[in-house]
């Protein structure tokens, strides 16, 4: 019998739930590991899992400075999609989406991946053209996408603002039916438990504070729990990327910015899928608990504080209420922020680095949650094989030098605009 | 090059205001005992001429302007009046000069300021100026701007370049109780006007000719 199943649940219920064991162990760090993963977020944990599962590398520790899942994986708006324009991104994210589709069973952990559809609204002819291009490019890659006109959008969501009062009328939208949401914490916990069961040590409250070097190689990492030796190091510290990289002497094309997110009081089902506003940055979905989960733009200044300021809050709400005027009376229950590693072209970096045995997973901007399984998969491959997987070849650090940028928005090297 | 500012021959058409389509004089909003909380009027037909000092010419420019207009160009955050002309500080080495004429001020400034290092740019048609007065003016403006308008912080002749209802404006605190001139961009004039009216509605407001 699977460790987690209806039957095990019933059996444990009858036994007063006394026999459940820890979801993951709490080991003391060993002196040395083959691979150290710095960062116990979604990507770090998924990488450890796939190192063990796909490559048989189990002498692995994930070092997390706080509690696992406390970073962006635990504070994002949980939108999962693969509706990217540029091939370099599209293939990668679609790989990830396919992994999502089997993830709960793979991990024997219900990550509540729910394919409720992601709809991007368009508010001008130009935007419709841009969405058409994206939708068409996706289809050619074998990815689902539907171009909706105004009536198509209205059939899905009759309560958006179709009135003459709308400042930016809805022209139509791009729908990815296979997109959706997942239960963010469960993703971290599911990968942690999966990795743990395969022998990976998950070490919390263990901050990496420096690297031990011997020439171009890293021999170990200094942590708040002592020095740990290693064969290879994978870095997946999201918003903290520049700081950890600096310990290894690397300067990266990354800025850290704060992105806020919000949840309303819990409601009976109101919004089925994910809707994004096209005339301003705003996206919304409803969690299974009932809260509307929403977000928008970053705060537009470098930040390592996991909180933002009122102008952005107000901007997000104004966009939301413009898109859905029925939101106005609903109340925001909680707001928070996460620190995002904004790359210079708005696309991620999963790459080897100038240091032989140091590998980099960063630059996730607004959108790395959806990448979690795919990122772990290709990052594990990159670490295990010392060369990129075909899906992360375009995501190399070198693209900033060669000019093979992946700039979905065409915004240029201005992170705040991505 | 001197634009066609040598005074034109033909009689000029009257100047239009971007608020022509929406400005109907009268009382609006809540009925307020003791008169409207805010009275708004349009200051139309003015010359608004922007004057910049080129690099290192601020002092000579000040002297030239003082000589020609009898006006000391004000420092940051201040306005000054001299004769028929009012000067508002807009930014480093930049002022807006205002007078109740159509071309005379620009011509005068070109003659006096350009030789002293001044750069003259006519903005008369680009800005829409509303004058707000009345007991509720401060509250109405405070709904749209983060600048402190309390007399302790924003006394007479104080000037601020700021956002008002998210639009770039210049606020000019005039003499007398609670009178402010609001200079906004022409294209946004109607949006600014609507925002001001909505903000003023609870106090009652008057649009006067």
């Amino acid at each position: 019998m699977a460790e987690y199943s209806v039957l095990s649940l019933v059996r444990n219920a009858l036994g007063g739930h006394r026999r459940w064991i820890r979801a993951w162990r709490d080991p003391e760090p060993k002196k040395r590991y083959d691979v150290l993963i710095v960062g116990g977020g979604g990507h770090g944990l998924a990488t450890a899992y796939y190192l063990a599962r796909n490559h048989g590398i189990t002498d692995v520790a994930v070092l997390e400075k706080g509690w696992i899942g406390g970073g962006n994986v635990g504070r994002n708006t949980t939108i999962v999609r693969s509706n990217y324009l540029l091939d370099g991104n599209n293939h990668f994210y679609e790989h990830s989406l396919k992994l999502w589709e089997g993830l709960s069973r793979e991990l024997n952990y219900n990550v509540m991946f729910s394919q409720r559809g992601v709809l991007n609204l368009a508010h001008s002819d130009g935007q419709m053209d841009a969405y058409a291009r994206r939708g068409n490019a996706m289809r050619l890659n074998g990815v689902d996408s539907e171009l909706l006109d105004r009536n198509g959008v209205r059939r899905l969501y009759p309560y958006l603002d179709y009135s003459a009062n709308a400042r930016f009328p809805i022209y139509g939208g791009l729908l990815q039916p296979r997109g959706g949401t997942a239960r963010h914490d469960a993703v971290a916990w599911g990968f942690a438990r999966g990795a743990d069961r395969l022998g990976v040590d998950i070490i919390q409250n263990c901050e990496v504070t420096g690297f031990e070097r011997s020439g171009d190689r890293i021999t170990g990492v200094q942590t708040t729990r002592g020095t740990i030796g290693c064969g290879r190091v994978g870095m997946a510290v999201a918003g903290n990327t520049s700081r950890v990289a600096q310990m290894a002497g690397l300067e990266l094309p990354i800025e850290s910015h704060v992105l806020q997110a919000f949840v309303t009081e819990p409601l009976k089902p109101l919004i089925d899928g994910v809707i994004t506003f096209g005339a301003g940055h705003f996206y919304i979905s409803q969690s299974d608990k009932g809260g509307l989960v929403l977000g928008g733009d970053i705060d537009f200044y470098n930040s390592y504080a996991q909180r933002g300021n009122l102008p952005t809050v107000e901007h997000v709400m104004a966009n939301g209420c413009a898109m859905m005027p029925n939101l106005r009376r609903l109340r925001i229950l909680r707001s928070w922020g996460g620190i995002m590693d904004m790359s210079m072209d708005g696309s991620p970096i999963i790459s080897k680095t100038p240091i032989d045995n140091l590998y980099l997973n960063a630059g996730w901007c607004y959108g790395g949650f959806k990448a979690t399984p795919g990122s772990g998969w290709v990052f594990a491959h990159t670490i295990a094989e010392d060369r990129p997987h075909r899906f992360n070849e375009p995501l190399s650090l070198g693209r900033f030098t060669t000019g093979h940028l992946l700039d979905e928005g065409g915004k240029g090297p201005t992170p705040k605009l991505h | 090059m001197a634009d066609a500012t040598s005074l034109p021959q033909a009689p000029l058409p009257p100047r239009r205001s971007p608020l022509d389509a929406v400005w109907v004089a009268g009382d609006y909003g809540a009925a307020a005992v003791g008169g409207p909380g805010v009275t708004m009027l349009r200051r139309s037909g003015l010359s608004s001429v922007q004057l910049d000092a080129r690099r290192g010419t601020a002092a000579s420019l000040r002297a030239a302007v003082a000589g020609a207009l009898g006006l000391a160009l004000p420092g940051p955050g201040r306005a000054a009046s001299g004769g028929e002309v009012r000067a508002l500080w807009l930014g480093p080495d930049r002022w807006m000069l205002l007078a109740e004429d159509t071309f005379a001020l620009e011509a005068k400034l070109r003659a006096a300021a350009e030789p002293a290092g001044g750069v003259v740019v006519d903005q008369s048609h680009g800005r829409t100026i509303l004058r707000l007065s009345g007991p509720a003016v401060r509250e109405v403006l405070a709904k749209g701007t983060g600048v402190d308008l309390h007399p302790r912080a924003f006394a007479e002749d104080a000037v601020a370049q700021t956002g008002l209802f998210h639009l770039a404006v210049t606020l000019d605190r005039r003499r007398g109780t609670g009178t402010f001139d609001v200079h906004g961009m022409r294209g946004f004039a109607q949006s600014l006007f609507e925002s001001l009216c909505e903000a003023a509605a609870e106090f009652g407001y008057r649009l006067s000719e």
């Binding site: 600096q246 800025e255 850290s256 390592y304 210079m344 201005t414 | 940051p76 930049r94 983060g146 370049q161």
Partner: protein
């Protein structure tokens, strides 16, 4: 609201400004002599420190000056502000960090 003391206008809400990023980045002074590597560093690479950060804010809705601001990226506290030509006590802070 970050309150930024504009050297001209006094303290203003940060949303009157537009953020213009890292002020320690110096554009190659002699473009002809600059190597691709120099341009790469200038355009793409960032120190991105946690703590004191020297940065530009453009007072777009105010006096339109670019204001140099020393701000702590961990607390958002503004430590100093001045004009682009001003030396703010960044080095001191960095040294003490």
């Amino acid at each position: 609201m970050i309150r930024i003391p504009c050297p001209y206008c006094g303290p203003r809400d940060h949303d009157e400004f537009s953020y213009a990023g890292d002020a320690t980045k110096v554009r190659p002074a002699d473009p002809a002599a600059a190597t691709p590597e120099d341009w790469h560093r200038y355009v793409y690479l960032r120190d991105n420190p946690r703590g004191a950060h020297l940065e530009y804010w453009h007072h777009v809705q105010g006096c339109r000056a670019y204001v140099k601001v020393l701000r702590d990226t961990a607390t958002h506290e503004v430590l100093a502000a001045g004009l682009p030509s001003d030396d703010l006590p960044f080095e001191d802070l960095e040294a003490g960090r």
